[in-house]
Every structure is written in structure tokens, then in C-alpha cells.
């Protein structure tokens, strides 16, 4: 087991890019290697040691034996754990854009907020954000129609706009509230939101399921009432309580399921 601790000593105004510092790349790095490493900052590179104090303990045979701990406010560190396939990263602070993007395995925990694009195009593994995130969490790359396809994102705080855009697999669990257009263009997978949703979940969705335990502001016209379900089972998960089930988005002949907590959304009954 190898523990790599990076403690922030100077916050850069221009974001640092960390996609090269993932367990897959650094599992066999010694302390020297980190000290000699130049991190991309904008269109240049600077020594990692300009920004972080380093500590490396133990050895690892592969990325799965690596635990990276980022101490401090990493609100200007982009691409944390981007494309990682194994191992663990813990951020004790905020994370900047694209945290956990394209990851295929392993685990990332952010003990703070994450900026937009967290878990973009995720294929596997686990991303847990103790705070909130902003727009396009678990989405596709801009322009692409193939979004997150596997793994799990857990958000303890709130989500921004277009959560799980183009979702085609995997699971997103938001314990807080969520802004507009969760699950837009989704074709598969599952989104659970425990808090309130402003409006329009599931716009243009073709398939998959969205479950909302809070109150929904405005429902899209493309969703038609299906039935009232009690204690539904969705994707092998059981939920207790009464839910109003809608099917949509009929604009695209969609077969997606939208479950709204009946108690909280009484006026829709």
C-alpha cells in the first residue's frame, strides 16, 4: 500500500491540471519523481513542489494499492482522478472542473464541493462528493451524445443544471436538491434525487429511470401519467412509499420512467 499526500501550500490563480497524477501513472513513483514532476498550469508547466508539499509512504505494485490524499483547497485543481482505473483519491477540500471525468474504476472522495463536469463520461468506479457540485455532473463531453455509462456518483449536497446529461448507464444519487433538466437525453441508468427539483427532469429522455423524493417545481409536457405505484422496485432497488409514475419523453417516443414522491407532489395527483 502506498499513501501519497499532497498538501497545498500555494493556490494558483490559473488552474493546475492533474490528469497525469492518477494512481495508474504514479503507483511506482518515488518521492524524487514527484519532486521532478512539472504540472501543467495553463499553457506552461511548473514544478509540482511550487504548489504542494509532498509525502510518499510505502510501496505499490499497481494502481489499486495507491491512496492519494490531497489536503487543502483544490478549487483550482482540474481533472483530479481523470481517467483513473483503480486506487483511491481523497480530496480534503474543494475540487475544480472535471473531477473524476472518464474514470473507469477506483474511488474518489471529495470532502468539499466540486465544480462542473464532475464524473463526466464516467465508465466505472465511484465518485463521492460530500458537498455540492455545479452544472453537468455525470454528463457527456460537450457536443457528444454518449454520456456517463457506468459507476456511481453520490452527491451529499446539491446538483446543478443538466445532471446526468446523456446518461447511458450507471447511477447518480443526489441527497440534496437539483436544478433543471436532470437526465436530459438519458437513454439508460438511474438518477435518484432526495431533495427538491426546480423543473423539467428527463427532458428528451428515451429510457432509464429518475426518482425524485422531494418536490418538483414544473413537470415537462412530454411526460404522461402512467400509474400510482406503491413501494416500487427500480433497477433492482426497492423504495418504500407511494410514487406517481410518469412515462416520457413522448416527444421522442421515450419509454423512460419518472417517479415522483406522491406525498410531496400532492397537487399533481
Amino acid at each position: 500500500m502506498k499513501t501519497i499526500t499532497l498538501t497545498l501550500k500555494k493556490k494558483s490563480q490559473i488552474a493546475l491540471e492533474f490528469d497525469e497524477l492518477i494512481p495508474d501513472e504514479v503507483f511506482d513513483w518515488e518521492k524524487d519523481d514527484f519532486e521532478n514532476y512539472q504540472v501543467p498550469v495553463g499553457n506552461k508547466r511548473f514544478p509540482l513542489t511550487d504548489y504542494f508539499d509532498l509525502e510518499v509512504e510505502g510501496t505499490a505494485e499497481g494502481p489499486e494499492e495507491v491512496k492519494m490524499i490531497l489536503e487543502g483547497d483544490c478549487g483550482r485543481v482540474k481533472y483530479i482522478g481523470c481517467k483513473m482505473s483503480a486506487g483511491e483519491i481523497i480530496v480534503n477540500g474543494d475540487a475544480d472542473l472535471h473531477c473524476g471525468a472518464e474514470m473507469t474504476g477506483g474511488k474518489i472522495t471529495v470532502n468539499g464541493d466540486a465544480e462542473s463536469y464532475a464524473g463526466r463520461e464516467m465508465k466505472g468506479g465511484e465518485l463521492e462528493i460530500m458537498g455540492s457540485t455545479r452544472e453537468f455532473c455525470g454528463c457527456s463531453y460537450i457536443g457528444d451524445w454518449r454520456g456517463m455509462s457506468g459507476g456511481k456518483i453520490t452527491l451529499h449536497g446539491n446538483a446543478g443544471k443538466q445532471l446526468g446529461e446523456c446518461l447511458s448507464g450507471g447511477e447518480i444519487y443526489v441527497k440534496g436538491n437539483c436544478d433543471i433538466l436532470a437526465g436530459i437525453h438519458m437513454t439508460k441508468g438511474f438518477i435518484q434525487i432526495d431533495g427538491d427539483v426546480t423543473r423539467w427532469p428527463g427532458g428528451q429522455m428515451k429510457n432509464g429511470n429518475i426518482l425524485i423524493n422531494g418536490k418538483l417545481g414544473i413537470l415537462l409536457e412530454g411526460f404522461v401519467f402512467d400509474k400510482i405505484v406503491k413501494d416500487p422496485e427500480i433497477d433492482g432497488k426497492s423504495f418504500s412509499g407511494k410514487y406517481i409514475k410518469y412515462t416520457g419523453d413522448i416527444a421522442l417516443n421515450g419509454k423512460g420512467g419518472l417517479y415522483l414522491n406522491a406525498e410531496k407532489n400532492r397537487e399533481l395527483l
Binding site: 463531453y141 460537450i142 457536443g143 451524445w145
Partner: protein
């Protein structure tokens, strides 16, 4: 500066040199017979030496490339490189950035490319983009097949007016020749329709593709343009379209050629998309045998193939209705544009996959055409970049053409699906191209087809556009080593353009501005003047731009190469 490329094995089909060990010399940008003893020696012992490549049909500059890049950022993120001392950073796979387009052609040993669809209204923009493409000369072909003036005069049989219009519009747009895309079909798309076959009239104008094709071909020969009409026929990509293709070729057969620079009177582009039999995608069969037979029997036709490369790419064409069909088929995002009185266009991303029966079938039809057309001077290597695949796959296609074993292997181990041999005759074709035939379809034939008098051969006086590939033809067995062929043709040992070494060992070492090739017709000034008087009222009434802002001024072509043509000679 004098140079001598020493001891290379030269393939120069235009001069009937097929694998001869000899020196190639050049001085001040031109090929020469001999050089002084001061000449710099480049040792290329036992390496393949060819004229630089010429791409006769691609989409590399113009508004639809820009729309493609804007609406496909997910394509731009592929192929990203960091800048070097010589090159800017690159981006894009199927729609690379302008500099990347130049570098990538250069790395493959290419020196010239045709931008095959320039809407006259967007010509200024096309030229701006050509200015941003380095290292490879660009020949833009303006679109005329759905132009209102042409449709009207074709209906009335006024060939001289059309000729004068084209002569004038080549000057206005700085274009090289006549491109025709889905004649009457794109105009019909303005009414939400399409035409099927060459005798289906366009709405309002009530003129058929046959009439338009014949009129434009006659006008082309009246002017004696260096290139023939360049035709993307009707019914692209529709099962059962091969009769339309053959009718298109047949309908201009009797029109007499007036230019001595070329052999053909019609160039059929991306023939692969036009060689399908059957009635639907369920019962589709290959029509390549029929199309190839026709081409084998008729010397007035040349073609390029538009080979499927089995990649995720971006389709973009002036064939607006076809792009809508494609969007209906694959459900992916669609861009559409109407170009006022001239044409239209559409863009849709497309994934050609060896796992899909239809893509496998299309892949096989393209290869069938290559293998069934007997005379390599009648067929050129293209992918209709980016429609059937990006141009960076040319080396891979070369490896397929040179190795029947590789093709068989792909069919055997299911890299392509069974439709590739059950719906086509590819499984029974064991022809293997040799290096001389490859040099013909990638250089000599396109140069001849375009009537180029300064490139495509290693004749003294011609431009020193030369490619050297790190292959010893006496050593390598292309049938057994397709990967080595692909690697060598993708990474030129030297690419020399106008006597300057631009690529060495697969790396771009020098960046130069590209030239724009266009045709200036002389001796038709009176007719042009008369026709402009007819055009201007309609122009002023319907165009959204003023004529003063329409013309491509000289500063849009800072490095022009003008082919001067005497009308009718």
C-alpha cells in the same frame, strides 16, 4: 538551391517509369534533367520515390467545415497535439483544424488537394480557410448543379449563357472547375423534397438532372476547362441507385471533349455511394460490377471511390436531402443550410463500424470498385474526406488494396460482417495493386483528370513536388506486410513541395503557405458582359448580399496558380 535524390526506386506512371532505380534532380523548385556538382545529395537508396500525392476530392475548407467543427467539439478533442517549434498544435480527427489538415496531408507525402464543394456565396470564406491551411495546394470547385441561373438556362437550352456564366463565376469565386451535387435534388430540398433518377424534374424550374448535366457538360467543353464536370449524381446512398449512376454517365457520352489536357468528359465522384443494387437496406446488393463494367467500357468516364474506412466520422455535403435521410436513419445531430440561389448543405456525424452489416457492405463495395476497374488511370483513391472516413486513412486503404490476404483476413476474423462478402463479390477478387498502380491512383491519374500541367509527374520543368517513402519495394511483400505499408505511406521519409523539404522522417520540418489553383478563361469577355446584364436584376432582387461584397478579391488568394484557358481551344 539544387538537390539530387540519389538511388531511389522511382514510380512515375506519367512517364512510364515503374520501379526504376534512378536519381531525381530538382533546382529552384522545379524538376530538372541535371544539376551541378554543388547539388545537395539526399540519399534515398532503395526507397520509393513518387510525385507528391494529389487528392482529387475532399472537403477541407469552407463553411461546412466550420459548422462541423463548431457542432462537433467531441471530434476536435481527438488528435490533439502540443505545438512544436515548427507546427501549431493540432486538433480533430474527421474534421481537423486548418493547420492540422495541411500537416497531415504533408506527412502522407501529399502536395495538392481539391476542395470539392465551394458554394459561390461562401467562396470568400472558403478562400480564407485555404489561407489557413499550410503545405498543401488547394483546388476549389464551385458548385453549379443547383444554381438558379444554370437551372433556368438549362431548361431553355441556352448553353452559351451557361458557359459565359461559368467563365465569369470562376473569376468571381476563384474556382477551378464545375462541381455538380445532386443536380435538381438540392434545389428540390428547398421545397422539402428530392429528385430520384435523372429524369425527375425539380419543382418550379421544371428541369431535370439530365438537362442540367448535359448543359453544364456542353458549357464545360465550350470553354475547354482543364477539368471535366465533377459529378456527385442523384440518389446518393440509396439501395438500387446504380442505374441512376450509369444513366448519369451515359447522358453526357456524346458530348465532345475539347480539352487536350484530360481524357474524360465526366468525373464521377465517391462512386462507392452510387453503386448499390436492391430495393432497400434489407435486400441491398452490390452494383459495383455494373458500374465498373460501364467504366471499363467507356473512356469518357473517370471516378474516385470514396472508400469507407470504418471510423466514426462527420458527413458533410451539399446534398441537403440526403443528409436529412441520414439523420433520420441514425438519429444523430443534424445541421442544415440553404445557400440562397445556389445550393444547400447538411452535416451529420456517422459511425461506420465493421460490426454493422451496412458499413461492412459499403466498405466492400468501395474495394470492389478499386479492384474491378481495370485501368488505374480511371480511378482515384479518396474517402470523400470526411464523408466516408478521414483522409489520414489513405495509407490503410493502400494496404488493403495491396493485400488480398489482409482483406480476406478481415472478412474471416469478423473485422467486417458477412455482408461484406455475401452481398458483394469482394470475396472472389484476388487482385493486388502494385506500387505503380498505387502511384497512378494517388498521383498520376488525379493530375491527368484535373489537367494539371505542373504537377503529378517527375518531368523536367514540373514542380518539384516529390514524396519519398521508407520502403524498399524489392524487399517488402505488401501482401504479407500490410502494417508496414500503412506505416510507410502514413509517414513520408521526405515530402518535398516546390523544391522545399517540408517533411522528414514523418515529421513536419517546414511550414509554407499553400497555393490556390483556379482557372481563368480568356476570349469569352463579350459573352460574360452580356450574361452579367441578365444576371444582375435577379441577383439584386434575391441575394442577401450586394454584388460588390460577393466577389472574391485578389487578396483572398495571396498565392494563386492560375490556369489560363483560351475558350474553346
Amino acid at each position: 538551391m539544387e538537390y539530387i535524390l540519389k538511388n531511389g526506386i522511382v514510380y512515375d506512371p506519367a512517364n512510364n517509369i515503374a520501379g526504376e532505380k534512378k536519381d531525381v534532380m530538382f533546382k529552384d523548385g522545379k524538376i530538372v534533367d541535371n544539376v551541378s556538382s554543388d547539388a545537395k545529395v539526399l540519399d534515398v537508396t532503395d526507397k520509393i520515390v513518387m510525385p507528391a500525392g494529389i487528392d482529387p476530392h475532399a472537403h477541407v475548407a469552407g463553411p461546412k467545415l466550420v459548422v462541423g467543427r463548431i457542432y462537433r467539439p467531441e471530434d476536435s478533442r481527438k488528435g490533439v497535439t502540443t505545438k512544436t517549434d515548427v507546427c501549431r498544435s493540432e486538433s480533430g480527427f474527421s474534421i481537423p483544424s486548418c493547420p492540422a489538415t495541411g500537416y497531415r496531408y504533408s506527412r502522407m507525402g501529399y502536395g495538392t488537394v481539391t476542395e470539392a464543394a465551394m458554394p459561390p456565396l461562401e467562396a470568400k470564406h472558403t478562400h480564407e480557410e485555404i489561407m489557413a491551411i499550410p503545405n498543401v495546394d488547394v483546388t476549389p470547385l464551385p458548385l453549379f448543379g443547383n444554381n438558379w441561373f444554370v437551372l433556368q438556362w438549362a431548361k431553355e437550352g441556352k448553353i452559351e449563357e451557361i458557359a459565359a456564366f461559368i467563365s465569369s463565376w470562376l473569376k468571381i469565386t476563384k474556382g477551378y472547375g464545375i462541381k455538380i451535387v445532386n443536380p435538381c435534388g438540392t434545389e428540390a430540398w428547398g421545397w422539402g423534397g428530392n429528385v430520384h433518377g435523372i429524369d425527375d424534374p425539380a419543382p418550379y424550374f421544371d428541369v431535370t438532372a439530365r438537362e442540367v448535366l448535359r448543359a453544364l457538360s456542353q458549357a464545360n467543353e465550350m470553354l475547354g476547362l482543364p477539368h471535366s464536370i465533377h459529378v456527385h449524381p442523384n440518389d446518393l446512398g440509396h439501395p438500387g441507385n446504380f442505374p441512376t449512376t450509369i444513366n448519369t454517365l451515359e447522358c453526357v457520352k456524346d458530348i465532345e471533349k475539347s480539352s487536350g489536357m484530360r481524357d474524360q468528359t465526366i468525373h464521377l465522384t465517391h462512386a462507392q455511394f452510387h453503386s448499390y443494387a436492391g430495393t432497400s437496406w434489407r435486400d441491398v446488393e452490390s452494383g459495383a460490377t455494373e458500374v465498373a463494367d460501364y467504366i471499363n467500357k467507356n473512356k469518357h468516364v473517370t471516378c474516385d471511390v470514396g472508400q469507407i474506412t470504418l471510423d466514426e466520422t462527420t458527413t458533410m455535403t451539399a446534398d441537403g436531402p440526403m443528409e436529412f435521410d441520414l439523420h433520420q436513419l441514425n438519429g444523430l445531430k443534424w445541421a442544415n443550410k440553404d445557400i440562397e440561389l445556389e445550393t444547400g448543405s447538411g452535416i451529420v456525424p456517422f459511425i461506420y463500424s465493421g460490426k454493422a452489416p451496412v458499413s461492412s457492405f459499403q466498405w466492400a463495395v468501395g474495394l470492389e470498385l478499386f479492384l474491378l476497374i481495370k485501368d488505374p488511370w480511371q480511378v482515384c483513391l479518396t474517402t470523400d474526406h470526411p464523408n466516408a472516413g478521414p483522409f489520414i486513412r489513405y495509407p490503410r486503404i493502400i494496404s488493403w488494396l495491396m493485400s488480398s490476404e489482409r482483406r480476406q483476413e478481415m472478412m474471416d476474423n469478423l473485422e467486417v460482417r458477412v455482408w461484406s462478402y455475401k452481398r458483394t463479390s469482394l470475396g472472389s477478387l484476388d487482385r493486388d495493386y502494385d506500387f505503380n498502380e498505387i502511384a497512378t491512383i494517388t498521383r498520376a491519374a488525379p493530375a491527368k483528370i484535373y489537367g494539371y500541367q505542373d504537377r503529378g509527374e517527375l518531368t523536367p520543368g514540373y514542380n518539384a513536388d516529390i514524396a519519398v517513402y521508407d520502403l524498399n519495394p524489392n524487399d517488402i511483400d505488401p501482401i504479407k506486410e500490410p502494417a508496414a505499408i500503412e506505416k510507410a505511406f502514413g509517414n513520408a521519409m521526405y515530402t518535398i513541395k516546390d523544391g522545399q523539404i517540408l517533411v522528414k522522417d514523418g515529421e513536419v520540418v517546414k511550414v509554407v503557405p499553400s497555393h490556390t489553383l483556379w482557372t481563368n478563361v480568356n476570349g469569352f469577355e463579350e459573352q460574360e458582359k452580356a450574361v452579367m446584364e441578365q444576371v444582375m436584376p435577379t441577383f439584386n432582387r434575391f441575394y442577401t448580399v450586394k454584388f460588390e461584397n460577393y466577389k472574391v478579391h485578389d487578396h483572398f488568394t495571396p498565392y494563386p496558380i492560375v490556369t489560363e484557358v483560351q475558350a474553346g481551344k
